[in-house]
């Protein structure tokens, strides 16, 4: 079970109190009614599945109720940091963004098995 630091409550709480909210930093187009099919597809349907660093949303649903963002490693589940909604995407020192766009195979996720 993950231990998650809520940037609003300013403490680490158990995963049981939180709900995952999908990728972070995806803004709803302000002119959404007028965007092209391609732009809408990109906004609503398409997501990366990175191996490594991901920026994602969480909600402290059984706590303060606030949505916030987190930088997490999808392999180790290590949280690099969490930050309030609306704050810019942070640079994580020493961690480069995941390079592989999609990861689907067992070998890719587990790494060593052949």
């Amino acid at each position: 079970m993950l231990l998650i630091y809520c940037p609003y409550c300013e403490e680490e709480r158990s995963e049981l109190e939180f709900r995952h909210g999908g990728d972070a930093h995806i803004a709803r187009p302000t002119n959404i009614a007028d965007v092209t099919d391609e732009a809408f597809e990109e906004y609503f349907f398409l997501r990366d599945n990175p191996k490594g660093l991901i920026f994602e949303r969480w909600r402290h649903i059984h706590g303060c109720g606030r949505f916030f963002n987190a930088a997490r490693d999808t392999v180790s589940d290590k949280f690099y940091l969490t930050y309030k909604a609306g704050e810019p995407k942070p640079v994580i020192p020493g961690v480069s963004p995941a390079t592989e766009k999609t990861v689907e195979t067992y070998e890719a996720t587990e790494g060593t098995a052949k």
């Binding site: 993950l2 231990l3 158990s14 809408f40 609503f44 949505f67």
Partner: protein, 997 residues
């Protein structure tokens, strides 16, 4: 007398404290502190079980949790019975009943043993290949047969009468394992001031010190030092020592699951005590001191009762005072087994020979063996054994194919070296690394804040283990902010340093042989099975494991993994690390369901939500249905009525007189603030700026993709306040959805959302006499038709309590929904009922509500829609504003697929035979004679007998449905095909005049 094989002066149990137990009906005597295994061995019982597949006679292999053979059924009474208990870890208590498993009619004569003779037909993968055809036979013939024949123990049939506890704990340092390494680490961390939890699965601390009597620490006997150290730790305020407690799972962020066995060893447990306690520990740092497990040798017929691990025999002698035989052979590739021979020899047991497959054993042990007069055959191997129900002889040959000779024995000890227990490390997602020099997988890359110490880290030698563990304890204490403590130093001495070890099949069980040389005893996997798996194309260790079942079940790789890998490596001609190691999964040892579910059983399994009027409904004979966690009154049968009768009566009564319905479960959200109107415009398809205070509107909420997400009536109480209702099941997700947009997309809006579902009790009063019923009870609201028309809301009082009174209808009748504070729900309901009943009204339940709404074509989101339905598909285009430039779903609704012709649309269906009621979910076709696969146009979403229409009615999603009005379609059923006519969705009062009555 506690067994003929108990040796006076040996062991640590007290001869005066005895306990009686039965094994397969026969009474035996044990000593307090005995395990079932040690007690049986003390009584000369080696035959304890039958193997899984071949039903071969099996004995006790180990003295620990790795035991694959001695699985027994233990009971206290009829309800307190547990199968598949490992005999070496179950402590004996007085009055215990033990049964062997997987045998019939008796352990000594087992019919299933014929499988052993048929074993050429039961090779690895046999089930996969044999029971493929015919397909239909799988369910009816093969599976029931295999299920009956396979499996070891039999599950208890009675409810578990015990209770279980659950506890959360936090600490600076959690130490798993209380052998030399764990005790040293815990002591160092505790003395430095850290909050420490030390756990060990055994009844006492000590680990390998249970058997290794040659160890001295600070001049004290090792085992005594361990007990003294544990006592010292227990006395410290910052330390918790848990014995009989297994760290079974290492999860994310240093979250470790422990299970503490509280009463399983007690003859008469206090009823207040839980049987087991689950600990969920969040540790800042973890120290793994899980030790290592001795491996067996892989040779022909290495599974006879009486053949066991050398360290196990040493444990039975040195801790329990039990000699496992009178004339004992030893077969080893490691120095460690010599010490077992030395201890037994000194206790008066004859050692037939030490057969060492190495040419050069450690010189120190060799010298000691000579001194004790024990024959050592180096460069020799045991190539076979004899003995039906217990080993009686070993066949010994010089390596490389020399002639063999039989040596009579009554027990055979073996050791192929030690496998570090990296289970918890691997569970923590750490990556193991193969150390070619020692042939071991050791902790490599750490994924979490933990450290391995001692033999689970591959550290050899007592002093090295102590120093590494003390340093780790100190480091972890410092890392958690404990700097000012006392530094600990310890000095250890042991008689011998151990060398040696091997992996894979031994002499006589090599590549060209077909002998039964067991790698995994529990799953009856032999060396040849692993070779077969490779030949059949399984080249990944994960595939080999699943094809052969090697290392499955409770073994989880404890004994079998390394041998299995080595054999596969040899056949594949690839190095061991290239084949990989299977990932260890939790739990390390089996955990009972009781411990995991704790109090979450029976009524506490899932909480029931009850409305404020629940007691009245119960008293008036309501039958309830579950809607999510809610208990909702389903229908109110009167005496002699079937459900059908009751629903028909309720339906008639509501349309002819009136009915009361408990609508309290509807989700309710208060949307308040200066920007409430703007927010509502964004969240719902409707235009809310045109809704005046005091009026209501039916609102539709979409997801961004344009599909219907929820619906409900919204009342506007004032310019800045909306009373929003949601579907019963949808309330939490609608709230979450609204909060998501408010917090993250529209944070500039000044709006506050409050869930008020449980604050309001809601009483729907529906029907021609609804106003007559309510009028005298309402104060401060003119509820005349003119002042309070359909789709209005007012605040006032009813029966002296505040109310939000809605004029609205989900029945098609003139109706009201009376919202009162939940605490007054039942009182107001009773007051309304007191007026309603004499007028001939009834209380109605959810089934009648469903029928009445279907008669009017009112949809239920989630029943008539399924997440792929747009408002246009549901004939609700009128509710989608065409003027707004934004709302959630506005763009999704324009997607090419959503504006395409021929989409499935909601329509009504009337069966040609009015008495036939369609089945919900039934498929609809245009041509019932079309060959399969038929073109399916859609399905029935709602279907009822409508008493008011005197016929059946149905709603359905049908491709291009709105263009098919009047067409005949077909619903093929297993026994007949039903013809239906497509109609509109309103079956009663098409003009809607009754709403305004």
């Amino acid at each position: 007398m506690s067994g003929a094989n108990r040796i006076a002066g040996q062991g640590r149990l007290t001869p005066a404290k005895t306990a009686r137990f039965t094994f397969d009906g026969k009474t035996y005597h044990a000593l307090e502190g005995d395990t079932v295994a040690s007690a049986l061995l003390a009584n000369g019982v080696h035959l304890v079980g039958r193997s899984f597949k071949y039903h071969r006679p099996r004995g006790i292999l180990s003295a620990g949790p790795e035991e694959p053979n001695a699985l027994i059924d233990v009971s206290r009474d009829a309800a307190r019975r547990q199968p598949n208990v490992r005999a070496p870890v179950q402590e004996v208590f007085d009055g215990m009943k033990v049964e062997s498993q997987n045998r019939w009619p008796s352990l000594a004569f087992d019919i299933g043993g014929v499988n052993n003779l048929l074993s050429p037909f039961f090779a690895a993968g046999f089930y996969y290949k044999t029971f493929m055809w015919p397909k239909a036979a799988w369910e009816k013939v093969y599976e029931p047969f295999i299920r009956k024949a396979a499996g070891l123990g039999v599950s208890p049939t009675e409810d578990d009468p015990d209770h279980y506890a659950n506890r959360y704990a936090h600490c600076d340092v959690l130490v798993a394992g209380a052998g030399v390494a764990g005790l040293s680490a815990a002591l160092a961390a505790a003395e430095a001031g850290a909050r420490v939890i030390l756990v060990d699965e055994q009844p006492e601390v000590g680990g390998a010190l249970h058997f290794d009597t040659s160890v001295k620490i600070d001049g004290q006997n090792g085992y005594d030092w361990a007990q003294a150290t544990a006592a010292k730790l227990k006395a410290m305020e910052n330390v918790t020592v848990l014995t009989r407690t297994t760290a079974f799972g290492y999860y994310n962020h240093n979250f470790v699951g422990l299970v503490e066995r509280v009463t399983d060893h007690l003859p008469k447990p206090d009823k207040k005590l839980p049987r087991e306690r689950l600990w969920q520990v969040r540790a800042k740092r973890v120290i793994l001191a899980t030790g290592s497990i001795e491996r067996h040798m892989v040779f022909a017929n290495n599974d006879r009762p009486g053949i066991m691990l050398a360290s196990a025999a040493r444990t039975y002698l040195n801790h329990f005072g039990v000699a496992v035989g009178r004339k004992v052979g030893v077969y080893t590739a490691s120095d460690s087994a010599y010490e077992a021979a030395f201890d037994l020899k000194r206790a008066g047991v004859t050692i037939a020979a030490i057969v060492d497959n190495r040419e050069k054993p450690g010189e120190a042990v060799l010298a000691e063996a000579r001194k004790l007069g024990i024959e050592v055959l180096t460069g020799h191997s045991v190539v076979d054994t004899k003995g039906k129900l217990r080993v009686s002889a070993m066949s010994v040959a010089r390596n490389g194919g020399g002639s063999a000779r039989w040596i009579p024995i009554d027990a055979l000890l073996m050791s192929a070296g030690w496998t570090p227990s990296v289970h918890l490390f691997s569970q923590s997602r750490g990556k193991v690394a193969y150390d070619a020099a020692s042939g071991r997988f050791l902790p490599g890359t750490y994924a979490q804040d933990c450290l391995s110490v001692g033999s689970c880290n591959g550290t050899d030698g007592l002093q090295a283990t102590i120093e590494e563990s003390l340093a780790a304890g100190e480091l972890m204490a410092r890392a958690t902010g404990n700097e000012n403590g006392v530094k600990v130093e310890l000095r250890g001495e042991s008689a011998f340093e151990w060398t040696g070890g091997m992996a894979g099949a031994g002499e006589g069980a090599g590549a060209d042989t077909t002998v039964k040389a067991f790698v995994d005893f529990q799953n009856d996997v032999c060396a040849k099975d692993i070779r077969l798996a490779v030949r059949e194309g399984m080249h990944s260790i994960e595939h080999i494991k699943r094809f052969t079942t090697n290392g499955m079940a409770t073994d989880q790789g404890k004994l079998s993994n390394i041998h299995g890998l080595a054999i596969a490596s040899e056949v594949l001609n690839r190095e061991i690390p290239k084949i990989g190691l299977t990932t260890f999964r939790a739990p390390y040892t089996p955990v009972t369901f009781g411990a995991l579910i704790s109090h979450s059983r029976g009524a506490l399994f899932d909480p029931a939500r009850k409305t404020p009027m629940h007691a009245w409904e119960e008293a008036h004979g309501a039958v309830f249905e579950d809607v999510g966690n809610w208990k909702r009154a389903w229908y109110y049968p009167r005496s002699g009525e079937t459900m059908h009768d009751a629903v028909n009566r309720e339906c008639r009564t509501v349309r002819n007189v009136a009915g009361l319905f408990d609508a309290s479960t509807l989700g309710k959200i208060e949307v308040v603030g200066p920007d409430a109107e703007v927010f509502m415009n964004l969240m719902y398809t409707n235009a809310w700026d045109t809704l005046k205070p005091g009026r209501c509107r039916y609102g539709i909420m979409l997801r961004e993709d344009g599909f219907v997400y929820d619906d409900g009536v919204v009342g506007r109480l004032s310019q800045d306040r909306f009373h929003v209702t949601t579907t019963t099941g949808g309330a939490p997700r609608v709230m979450h959805h609204m909060e998501d947009y408010l917090q993250t997309e529209f944070p500039h809006l000044k709006v506050w959302l409050t869930s008020t579902t449980e604050q309001w009790a809601v009483i729907a009063v529906q029907g021609p006499k609804a106003r007559e019923i309510l009028e005298p009870l309402v104060e401060g609201i003119d509820i005349s038709n003119e002042a309070f028309p359909h789709m209005s809301v007012r605040e006032g009082q009813i029966c002296g309590v505040p109310t939000r009174l809605f004029r609205m209808s989900f029945t098609g009748e003139a109706g009201y929904e009376v919202n009162v504070p939940a605490d007054y729900g039942q009182a107001v309901w009773e007051a309304i009922w007191a007026r309603a009943e004499p007028l001939g009204a009834c209380a109605y339940g959810t089934e009648t509500m469903h029928v009445l709404r279907a008669e009017k074509g009112y949809i239920i989101v989630g029943q008539d829609t399924d997440g792929t339905v747009t408002p246009h598909d549901a004939s609700l285009s009128w509710a989608v504003s065409k003027k707004k430039t934004d709302f959630v779903g506005i763009r999704g609704l324009k997607r090419p697929d959503l504006v395409k012709e021929g989409r499935k649309q909601l329509v009504g269906l009337l069966t040609k035979d009015p008495n036939v009621v369609l089945e919900e979910g039934a498929q609809i076709v245009a041509d019932p004679n079309q060959p399969k696969p038929m073109t399916m146009l859609g399905h029935v979403t709602s279907s009822y007998w409508s008493e008011n229409c005197g016929r059946s009615i149905a709603l359905a999603l049908v491709a291009g449905g709105q263009a098919r009005l009047g067409q005949t379609l077909y619903v093929p059923m297993p026994d007949r095909t039903i013809a239906v006519e497509v109609s509109d969705m309103v079956f009663v009062d098409k003009e809607g005049g009754r709403l305004n009555g």
